[in-house]
């Protein structure tokens, strides 16, 4: 009880404004400088890469032929032509991959969050997904080569590439969807149950729509990621300078594969093709990212 008296001598609250000590000011400045510096350092390679890619490739892209034609029938010494064949390949492989991967991944996430909470199977699935997300793309590609070509004896094709991309895309989408479903408030589910609505209907009509905008963003980001993957196209399909519309047969170009293939052309024409394809790939991925955020805005739940 001796302390009680000293407590009474002190003001109940410290004064609101205190002179900031020079030490704190200094630490504040130091932190500001460090944080800004780190930001600038992080920006250097980014700006540099974008600048180099644009400076070397932009002139090739600003040409209608570039978007409408292939390199069909052109040699390394013929200028002209375009990358339509590769754009088609990149988009088709990404789309096929998404069509297969997204439903599976969303259903896995629904199971993990809604049904399997803390069950042994759910833990095993989470663990597997974590491992799968750490698998390098070349391993996924070689696995699929062993399965598709060596074991099943099927020819290399764009579809095989899509399947390898599925392996890379599923863990990413499962992870994001799982996190998004977790943050859907339990009150919404409970309100729905209280109205006598079955669980599956609650998930389809309440939980998923609430999380939909985030899920779409996640899917778009994952798609943008897998479309730039190089290892699967190198292993599982051959380059084709012509347009091939059939994903199950024959060689099909894609932008990363085109860059890898044209790199063998050492003259200025080959260089322009490689840089032009790089600009195109960066552009497409940027568009996908923008589309992702646009869609998520359009599908967002209106909160008054």
């Amino acid at each position: 009880m001796t302390t009680a008296t000293t407590d009474l001598d002190r003001p109940a609250t410290p004064p609101a404004f205190q002179e900031i000590s020079p030490g704190r000011k200094f630490r504040n400045r130091l932190a500001t400088v460090l944080v800004t510096g780190a930001f600038l350092v992080a920006m250097v390679p980014l700006v540099w890469v974008i600048w180099t890619v644009l400076a070397k490739g932009l002139h090739r892209v600003l040409n209608a032929d570039w978007w409408q034609k292939s390199f069909g029938g052109l040699t390394s010494r013929n200028p002209g032509g375009g990358v339509y064949h590769a754009i088609y390949g990149t988009l088709l492989q990404g789309l096929l991959c998404a069509v297969i991967a997204v439903p599976i991944a969303i259903m896995v996430a629904v199971y993990l969050v809604e049904y399997g909470r803390r069950s042994r199977l759910a833990k095993a699935v989470t663990f597997t997904v974590d491992i799968l997300s750490g698998v390098p793309s070349i391993v996924a590609a070689l696995f699929l080569y062993a399965l598709w070509v060596t074991t099943l004896g099927l020819p290399r094709s764009a579809f095989a590439v899509s399947l390898a991309l599925v392996l890379l895309m599923i863990p990413v989408v499962v992870r994001t969807t799982e996190e998004l479903l977790k943050i859907v408030p339990d009150e919404l589910r409970e309100a729905s149950y209280a109205l006598g609505i079955p669980k599956w209907k609650t998930i389809v009509k309440i939980v998923l729509p609430t999380a939909m905008s985030g899920i779409i963003t996640g899917v778009m980001l994952a798609l943008a990621r897998v479309m730039g993957e190089t290892a699967p196209v190198l292993v599982l399909v051959g380059y084709n300078q012509f347009i091939n519309y059939d994903p199950f047969q024959g060689n099909m170009a894609s932008l990363p594969l085109l860059m890898n293939s044209e790199r063998l052309t050492t003259n200025a024409i080959g260089e322009a093709r490689v840089w032009g394809a790089a600009v195109t790939l960066v552009l497409i991925i940027t568009v996908f990212n923008l589309l992702g955020s646009l869609l998520s805005r359009l599908t967002a739940i209106k909160t008054k």
Binding site: D65, G72, G73, S76, N78, L92, L95, N244, R263
Partner: protein, 377 residues
């Protein structure tokens, strides 16, 4: 309501995607007017080509053939409207592997199928029990490229090249180099040998040349890996050409087209009948002196006779690259298209080869090849 909204957004995305994917692209580049290069020499004979069969052929293999294949594909598309071939330049090893694995219609390789590696048997299995043929369709000279400001011109003998690429001669001022160049000694400068770090048929052929023409100075093995034991590696012929262009004092071997593209200085070769510079004519003379060691329509070449010849005016360092095809065992569609493609390649397309860094086929070889191509079924 919300579900409907999502569905409509998704529908819109799918529709947009479908629109992008189905919008008509075109393979037709002739409007650009560049496929039939003006000023190209007249084709060495056009042929009656029976177009038809499989629309899109696939082939894979040697990077050394890339430029020639592009010319062949362009000519094939002109001769047989709407017919294509996709050539994937991933290296001779992959070409043979994917041919024997049945992934491509024919393979391109810098060396003939090897019996002791089981390639001949694997290929026979792929061709449903029929032998595969090695058809030497593309001849690409290999240039000994160098970068030395003090040497505008350089003449090497096979022996000298063998010594340089095995590390026995390490300086440009070496008296042996001076002796081969009319006694004019170069200023002292270290020789940097650049070699292909990846496995390559070019390396294989170059080392075969060194052992055939080196008069015993090359004691190392041949093979797809460089065994000289000196210098620095570079990835692919493009990497080698870049390294030579960048390094003063460097010397390397690369296909003619790469040397042309990078404007590299090329050494003349003296096989005992005077210095011979590399051009289509001198390389053509050398090819004519080569002998076939395969039997029947298998046209595997005896490279030793080519590399060790001292025919006057011949540039002997020529890389013969093969198309590896099934003699029989294709389905009818594929056989027809393969025959049409190879016929165009051996005839109409020959005129465009020189500007791509290759040597047009000498007549003697052309007729042999056409006989073999006609026999494919």
């Amino acid at each position: 309501m919300k579900i409907n909204r999502h569905a409509s957004v998704l529908g819109a995305v799918l529709a947009a995607g479908a629109l992008v994917l189905s919008a008509c692209g075109s393979d037709n580049n002739t409007a650009g007017g560049s496929t039939s290069g003006a000023g190209a020499p007249a084709p060495t004979g056009t042929a009656q080509v029976d177009c038809g069969g499989k629309k899109a052929l696939t082939a894979e293999g040697s990077t050394a053939q890339k430029g020639a294949m592009e010319a062949f594909i362009a000519a094939y598309g002109q001769k047989c409207q709407g017919y294509q071939l996709a050539y994937n330049p991933t290296g001779s090893g992959n070409g043979v592997k994917n041919f024997t694995g049945g992934q491509v219609d024919f393979g391109g390789s810098d060396s003939a199928l090897k019996k002791d590696k089981g390639e001949v048997d694997a290929a026979a299995k792929r061709c449903k029990g029929n032998p595969a043929w090695n058809l030497p369709l593309v001849f690409g000279p290999v240039a000994i490229v160098y970068n030395n400001k003090d040497a505008q011109e350089l003449t090497l003998t096979g022996e000298l090249a063998a010594k340089i690429f095995s590390g026995a001669i390490t300086d440009w001022s070496d008296p042996a180099i001076a002796a081969a160049n009319g006694g004019k000694a170069l200023p002292a400068k270290k020789i940097t040998v650049v070699f292909r770090a990846d496995e390559s048929g070019t390396t294989d052929n170059f080392q075969k040349y060194l052992s055939a023409a080196g008069k015993g100075a090359w004691t190392k093995d041949a093979g797809k890996k460089f065994n000289g034991g000196v210098g620095q590696g570079a990835q692919g012929s493009a990497g080698v050409a870049d390294a030579v262009a960048a390094g003063d004092g460097a010397i390397a071997y690369a296909e003619w087209s790469y040397a042309q593209d990078k404007n590299l200085a090329m050494a003349k070769i003296d096989s005992g009948s005077g210095p011979v510079e590399l051009n289509a004519q001198t390389a053509g003379v050398a090819i004519q002196s080569a002998k076939v060691k395969g039997t029947g329509n298998d046209l595997e070449l005896d490279l030793k006779s080519l590399y060790s010849s001292n025919t006057p005016g011949a540039y002997p360092l020529v890389l013969a690259t093969y198309e590896i095809v099934c003699s029989k065992g294709y389905d009818a569609d594929t056989a027809k298209a393969v025959k049409a493609f190879l016929t165009v390649a051996a005839t109409d397309a020959q005129g465009q080869l020189q500007e791509a860094g290759y040597v047009p086929l000498p007549n003697q070889f052309q007729s042999k090849l056409l006989t073999a191509i006609q026999a494919i079924s």
